[in-house]
């Protein structure tokens, strides 16, 4: 099987699982973003839920699950982002009556 290597960069909560630094992952040539995620998830099925709802970047641009990866691509695993102001964490908040904006 012809293979290729991509660099995987985990962020946020995914660092606690996958490590804080970039790692190199070997995939079949022509593998997609979805196949990469399946491979990462299969390494520890008990934590695979952490991959739900994430976005992926390829070479610092958001990429769809169907995108075909290429040798040397830098793939960011991006949990839902939480920049900006303090937003509710841990649990989601119940909106105030009248639908007040957060």
């Amino acid at each position: 099987m012809i293979t290729m290597q991509v660099r995987v960069l985990p962020f946020g909560v995914l660092k606690d699982w996958l490590g804080a630094s970039a790692s190199t992952i070997v995939l079949p040539k022509g593998a997609t973003v979805a196949e990469l995620l399946a491979q990462v998830g299969s390494s520890d099925p008990t934590r695979g839920d952490l991959l739900r709802g994430i976005a992926v970047s390829v070479n610092a641009e958001y990429a769809p699950a169907t995108q075909v990866l290429r040798e040397g691509d830098e793939v960011g695993l991006l949990p839902p982002v939480s920049g900006g102001i303090s937003n509710p964490s841990i649990d989601s908040l119940t909106p105030l009556a009248g639908g007040s904006a957060r």
């Binding site: 960069l9 962020f11 946020g12 909560v13 606690d16 973003v33 979805a34 995620l37 839920d49 991959l51 739900r52 709802g53 994430i54 976005a55 992926v56 970047s57 610092a60 641009e61 958001y62 990429a63 769809p64 699950a65 960011g76 991006l78 949990p79 839902p80 982002v81 939480s82 920049g83 900006g84 102001i85 303090s86 937003n87 509710p88 964490s89 841990i90 649990d91 989601s92 908040l93």
Partner: protein, 253 residues
């Protein structure tokens, strides 16, 4: 649009703009042109000749008094549409123009007052500021500090794009968007957005859109440390179509 090399190793474009609308059109053409010039990495500078009237007016708008300016130059990174503007005096000196978009990630405290003052210009009728501050609690737990981290290369690019988009969408004159990284104590500014515009409605709308979109799409994360433990903030779901794996409970493949 075609270019010819100049003696600085850059590219000269023979575009002419008669009024502000044309000027903006030329600018977006340049952005498009540099984006598509990846195959020609030698292009790292573009000079744009402007009619005297527009050049004078623009320079005045930016409170630069030298009336000798007849050229604007754009330093463009072919890999992105971010540009730095210069004007060239008759003596051939390059002077940096006040950017109309200022975005940054910083590990230093954000000088909110200074950035707001710097954004104001005579032609603005409204300056809307969003100053995001670290608050002292989340859901009843007492916050000690926050640690912000970013996918810096991507976040910087995204913020620059958002700021440029806001200017186009809402027609505001200037956008400043600065986000702090590293450890922040309660009461410190985590994000500052300044929108300056002739009219307040556009400034309010642009500011609101910028913070909402930043919170959903710019790759920045924070870890909250409370008196009794630490947790990565849950974050807001990505806008539709951006997440590659469905959230829990979804039927999508």
């Amino acid at each position: 649009m075609t270019g010819r090399p100049n003696d600085l190793g850059g590219m000269v474009l023979d575009a002419v703009a008669d009024d502000y609308e044309e000027f903006n059109m030329v600018v977006s053409q340049i952005a498009e042109w540099t984006k598509n010039s990846a195959s020609n990495p030698a292009i790292d500078q573009i000079e744009l000749a402007l009619m005297n009237s527009i050049a004078d007016r623009d320079i005045q708008a930016y409170e630069y008094s030298e009336s000798s300016c007849r050229y604007l130059a754009v330093e463009a990174d072919p890999a992105s549409i971010r540009t730095r503007w210069f004007y060239i005096t008759e003596q051939g000196k390059r002077r940096l123009l006040e950017p109309t978009v200022l975005t940054a990630l910083t590990r230093e405290p954000i000088d909110a007052e200074g950035l707001v003052a710097a954004a104001k210009r005579g032609e603005d009728g409204a300056v809307v500021v969003f100053d995001g501050v670290v608050r002292n609690h989340t859901r009843g737990r007492q916050t000690l500090y926050l640690d912000y981290e970013a996918y810096e290369e991507m976040a910087g690019k995204q913020m620059a794009e958002l700021a440029a988009d806001a200017r186009k969408m809402f027609g505001v004159r200037h956008v400043t968007m600065v986000h702090r990284l590293g450890r922040l104590e309660v009461g410190e500014t985590s994000v500052l957005i300044v929108v300056a515009s002739a009219h307040r409605a556009q400034a309010f709308e642009a500011c609101r859109w910028l913070i909402d979109t930043l919170k959903q799409t710019v790759p920045i994360w924070k870890k909250e440390t409370f008196v009794d433990g630490a947790v990565w903030a849950a974050g807001e779901p990505f806008p539709a179509g951006m997440a590659v794996a469905p959230p829990e409970g979804s039927d999508e493949p």
